[in-house]
Amino acid sequence: MAKKLNMKFTLLCIVMLSLALTVSCAKKPPETTSTSDQAEAADTMATESEADTARADEDALTEEELEARRQAEAEARETAADARDRFVSEKVYFKFDDASLTDSARDALRDKVQWLRDHPDACVIIEGHCDERGTDEYNLALGSRRAESVKDFLTKAGIDGSRLTTISYGEERPAAKGHNEEAWAENRRAEFRFCSSE
C-alpha cells in the first residue's frame, strides 16, 4: 500500500515539475539571439558548470583531508607517547675523552629541539656519562662537560635554558656492562629524563 502511494506521489511530482518548466519557458519573451550571444551563453554555462565541478572537487578534497586528519589525530594520540619515549630513549653518543658533538649527535639533538619546541612546558634533565676507562673524578667532570655541550646546543637552538638541568654520573652508571669498545661506545653518552621523574 505505502509503496504504491509513494510511486503515485513521485509520478505526480515529475508531471508537475515538467508542467512548470514548460510554463516558464512559454512565459519567456521570445528574444532574438545572435550566434555570438549563444556562444557567450554557452561559455557562461560552461564556466558555471566548471565552477560546479570545482566546488564538488573541493568538497571531495576536504573530506579526504578530514579523513586523513582524523587518522592522523588518532595516530598522533598513539605516537605522542612514543615521541616522548623516543625523546628519552634516543641517546647522544661521544668519542673517547671528548665532549664535542659529532654529526650524528647533532642530528639526534635536532629531533630533540623539535620535540622541546612542541612541548614548551617540558623540563628536562641532561645526564652526562662516560665509559669505564680513565679516572673517577675526571670522568665526573667530563660527564658534566658532555651534558653542558648538549645543553649549549639546545639553548643555541632557542630552547630556554631554565628548562634544562645538567648532571654528571661519570662512569658510575654504565648502560652496557662489557669491557670492550662496543660497551664503551654505548656508555659514552648523554641521556635525557624529565624533571618530574626525579
Binding site: 675523552d97 665532549a99 634533565i125 676507562r133 680513565g134 679516572t135 673517577d136 673524578e137 675526571y138 665526573l140 667532570a141 667530563l142 658534566s144 662537560r145 653542558e148 645543553k151 649549549d152 638541568t165 645538567t166 648532571i167 654528571s168 654520573y169 661519570g170 658510575e172 626525579e198
Partner: protein
C-alpha cells in the same frame, strides 16, 4: 693514657747527636736494613704476659716491616733463644747478632701487673755495640698497639729525622651492598670505620689539614655536592651545593680555604671557597674541564688537571702570580695529582696503551718515573704524611683494592681485604708542628 719515659739511664751510652746514617734518605729503599726483633722478655711472671710479649714483638716487626726500610731476620735464624734473653746492654751478646748480619737489634720487655701494662723498648746497633734509643711506656693493656706504634714512630724519627707515619690514617670510598661511603682506616689497614651513610655516588674524600675532618663529594638532591664530615663529633655539614657539579675538594694548607671544581657557570672550573663554602675567587680560566686541585705543602702552588690542550694533563699554577704551566707532556691521559710533602714531586696516574699506572714527576726538572708496572689499572695515588710511602688503588687482583708501596715503588702490597671495591684513597696530612 700512655706514659712514656726515655730509658737513657739503662744504658751507659747515650748518643746525643742524631744518627740519620742508618737510612739513606736519598734512596731509603734501595737496600733494606737487616734487623732482629726477638720475642719480648716477660719482666714479671703473670700468666698472660707471655702472649703479650709475643704479640708485642710481632706488632713491632709488622709495623717496621711496613715502612719498607727494614728486612726482618727470621727468628728461626737467631743464634740464641729468641725470647727470654737479656734485653739491656750489659746482657746482650752482640756477636750473636752481628754473626747473622743484624744491623739493628730491638729488644723489649713487658710487665703486666693488675691491669697495668708496662713496655720497654731498646734499639741497638750490634756492630757499634751502642744503644740508639730506649723508651718505657706505661698504660692499659688495650693500649699495647698504641705503645708499639709510638715507639716505632720515635725510632723512625731517630733514624730518618722525619716524623713517622704510624699515627696516620687513610680515608677511602668503599662500595658495599648499600652503596658507597667514606671509610677511614689506620695506616696499616687496621681499624676500618665507616664514617658516612651509604649513598649512590661518593667520591674525592680529602683530609682537612687538622686531620679531624674529611671533605667529600656525594650525589644528593639531583647533583653532586660537597660535604664536610667532622670525625670528632660525627657531624656532617653541606659545604658547597652550587648548580651542576661540586667536585674534588682540596684544603689549602695553613688556611681554612678549600679549592674545588664547580660547573654552575656552564664550565668545569676550579674555585677557591671560604670555610663556609662561599666563592672567594675563580682559580682557572680555560674552556673545558679543570679538576682535581692539590696544593704544594707551602700553599704557594696548586697542581690540577685540565683538558685545555685537548687531553687531560697536569698543570701547576702559581697562586701569587697566577701564572700556569703545563707539567706533564708524556702520554695523553694524566690525572689525579698529589703534591709530595717534601714539595719537590707530584705523583699522578697516567694512561699508556690503555693501562693506567702511577708516575712521579719532579716539579722542577720534569723528570718522570713510573712506579707501578703490574697488570691491572693503578690509580688515585696519595702520599703518606712523611712522604715515604704512597697509597693507591689497583685492579691487579680483580676488583679495585687499596694498595701501598714505598715512594720508590718497592714493596707493593694490598692494604686491606674487604668485600666490594675500594677507591680514591687519601692519606692524612702531616701533623702541624
Amino acid at each position: 693514657m700512655i706514659c712514656a719515659c726515655a730509658l737513657v739511664l739503662v744504658s751507659g751510652v747515650c748518643p746525643q747527636a742524631a744518627d740519620y746514617d742508618y737510612i739513606n734518605i736519598r734512596e731509603p729503599f734501595s737496600q733494606k736494613i737487616p734487623m732482629a726483633v726477638p720475642v719480648f722478655k716477660t719482666l714479671s711472671q703473670g700468666s698472660t704476659e707471655k702472649q703479650v710479649a709475643k704479640n708485642a714483638a710481632d706488632m713491632v716487626e709488622a709495623a717496621l716491616a711496613y715502612t719498607g726500610y727494614f728486612k726482618m731476620i727470621d727468628r728461626d735464624a737467631f743464634l740464641q733463644d729468641p725470647g727470654g734473653q737479656g734485653i739491656v746492654m750489659d746482657e746482650i751478646k752482640f756477636g750473636n747478632w752481628t754473626d747473622i748480619g743484624a744491623e739493628l737489634l730491638l729488644t723489649g720487655g713487658v710487665r703486666l701487673e693488675s691491669g697495668v701494662l708496662q713496655m720497654e723498648f731498646r734499639l741497638f746497633d750490634p756492630y757499634r755495640q751502642e744503644m740508639i734509643l730506649g723508651k718505657r711506656y706505661t698504660g692499659k693493656v688495650d693500649g699495647q698497639r698504641k705503645m708499639v706504634l709510638r715507639f716505632c714512630g720515635e725510632m723512625i724519627k731517630r733514624l730518618t729525622g722525619r716524623q713517622g707515619l704510624f699515627d696516620s690514617r687513610i680515608a677511602f670510598v668503599g662500595t658495599g651492598d648499600e652503596g658507597k661511603a667514606v671509610y677511614v682506616c689506620d695506616f696499616d689497614g687496621k681499624n676500618v670505620t665507616r664514617i658516612t651513610r651509604p649513598q649512590s655516588i661518593v667520591v674525592s674524600p680529602a683530609w682537612g689539614p687538622d686531620g679531624r675532618s674529611i671533605a667529600y663529594t656525594a650525589y644528593t638532591h639531583g647533583n653532586q655536592r660537597i660535604y664536610i664530615s667532622n670525625l670528632q663529633d660525627g657531624s656532617v655539614r653541606e659545604f658547597a651545593s652550587y648548580e651542576g657539579i661540586n667536585l674534588t675538594p682540596a684544603w689549602h694548607p695553613g688556611s681554612s680555604a678549600l679549592a674545588a671544581t664547580l660547573s654552575f657557570e656552564g664550565d668545569e672550573e676550579i674555585y677557591l671557597l671560604t670555610e663556609t663554602g662561599k666563592i672567594d675567587k675563580r682559580l682557572t680560566e680555560s674552556w673545558g674541564v679543570d679538576v682535581s686541585p692539590a696544593f704544594s705543602p707551602d700553599g704557594k702552588k696548586m697542581v690540577f688537571v685540565s683538558s685545555r690542550s685537548g687531553s687531560p694533563q697536569i698543570y701547576v699554577k702559581d697562586m701569587r702570580s697566577g701564572s700556569v704551566r703545563r707539567l706533564t707532556y708524556e702520554g695523553s691521559y694524566n690525572t689525579q695529582p698529589d703534591w709530595s710533602p717534601a714539595g719537590g714531586q707530584v705523583v699522578y696516574s697516567g694512561m699508556k696503551d690503555g693501562r693506567t699506572d702511577i708516575y712521579v714527576i719532579d716539579v722542577d726538572s720534569g723528570e718522570t718515573e713510573r712506579l707501578t708496572n703490574q697488570a691491572g689499572d693503578n690509580e688515585a695515588p696519595s702520599w703518606s704524611p712523611d712522604g715515604s710511602m704512597i697509597v693507591f688503588t689497583s685492579t691487579r687482583t680483580g676488583s679495585s683494592r687499596i694498595f701501598v708501596m714505598t715512594a720508590s715503588g718497592t714493596d707493593q702490597r694490598m692494604l686491606l681485604d674487604m668485600p666490594g671495591k675500594q677507591q680514591l684513597p687519601d692519606w692524612s696530612p702531616p701533623k702541624r708542628q
